[in-house]
Symmetry: C2
Subunit: 211 residues, 2 copies
DNA sequence: CCTACCGATCGGTAGG
DNA sequence: CCTACCGATCGGTAGG
């Protein structure tokens, strides 16, 4: 049933994946608009038109860059958290993985999504919508774990879940910025501590150890 | 003693200021690299070379855009806080003014400095250095007010000033992002509440009213 | 996957 | 402040 074309000509092709892996790294530093087809081709020792043929338009290339970035984010941050029980422990695993993904420099420009969500925050169109949905999904994932934690009586029942999720994500954005801009590695432990303190302020069972 | 040339040909000229006022608005949306001399000239009904002559290079134009953005930031956020007494009250005024500067859309793309500090976080060169210094100054201003508050016994003596400053700035960045991306006006009051809660957690004299 | 192109736009210059 | 221009690069196409 599986179609060879699906795995060979497009998503499975080495060239196709090599292009996107290079492109996502450039985009994490320069933004999605900073990826030019000519530069990408010359860095990969390909002709411009040969590269272009894989995508059909620059916007399609940019859209695929977002897809592969989401895939990498999933592998590096989300999947490893799934071994932890839902609620507080999984939430903490998500955030700890996220900070570790900065430290390990999974993308050379820090968090790909922090870069492009600021780049597209005042723009319109498909790319804005696509990035906006990924960021909403991330925020909802955090809210969801907080709600589970509340249901399980891990955190106090009048904890403001939306406010907490906003604060946690904001600290992530701040840490990404300081880590990249000033090459300040200590900010990562600082951010972990900030997030833990926010959670500890609403934790009921003080025996829960997250760090 | 004052030189007419200083106020007429360059910094005082209407054209020069008009160019920069337009350019800073574009940059707040598109980033500093998204400002092109040709587009800027056509939007202002000028010739490219006529506009170019004011600056000498694109990098000089970008540098002057940063200067005028800092000047506007100073007028809108920093100066109005100076009527409040140093320490907690001035700090709160700074942050309240900052959020209000988002709400009033002083720049159409939200906070100019949030945009360009992410744009330049992994780049090198004069523009990176210049933006980095302005952001450090802002962070140090917050740290300074917190230290004054500690000296005045407004906040507890083992409050972690650097952590608190990091958290406050991060919440600002998060609010700017959500406000711009999702056109979510409520996030501004949410951010005010988050900052107040962070401060209230370390305030000694609970009679201090900030909001 | 390539060579060879296209029109548009980029930053910048010469000369007035 | 302008017209007229420069080489380089942009996204994209024709044809193989």
């Amino acid at each position: 049933m599986s179609n060879i074309k699906d795995t060979k000509t497009q998503k499975g092709s080495n060239t196709y994946n090599m292009i996107l892996r290079k492109a996502v790294d450039i985009a994490s530093i320069e933004g999605l608009n900073g990826v030019s087809i000519g530069r990408l081709a010359s860095e990969l020792n390909m002709s411009k038109s040969g590269l272009f043929a894989h995508f059909g338009s620059k916007e399609q290339l940019q859209s695929k860059i977002i897809d592969i970035a989401a895939q990498i984010f999933n592998e590096e941050v989300i999947k490893p958290a799934e071994s932890h029980q839902m609620g507080l422990h999984r939430l903490w695993s998500l955030m700890d993985n996220w900070i570790s993904y900065l430290e390990r420099k999974v993308f050379p420009g820090g968090c790909f999504f922090s870069t492009v969500t600021i780049e597209y925050d005042c723009k319109k169109g498909e790319l804005h919508e696509k990035i906006g949905k990924i960021m909403s999904d991330w925020r909802n994932r955090i809210i969801n774990e907080l709600n589970t934690a509340k249901g399980n009586k891990q955190i106090i029942k009048d904890a403001d879940i939306y406010k907490l999720a906003f604060e946690i994500i904001s600290i992530g954005m701040g840490a990404n910025w300081i880590f990249n801009y000033y090459n300040d590695k200590e900010i990562c432990m600082q951010a972990r501590k900030s997030i833990l303190d926010l959670l500890n302020a609403v934790i009921i069972d003080k025996s829960i150890k997250l760090s």
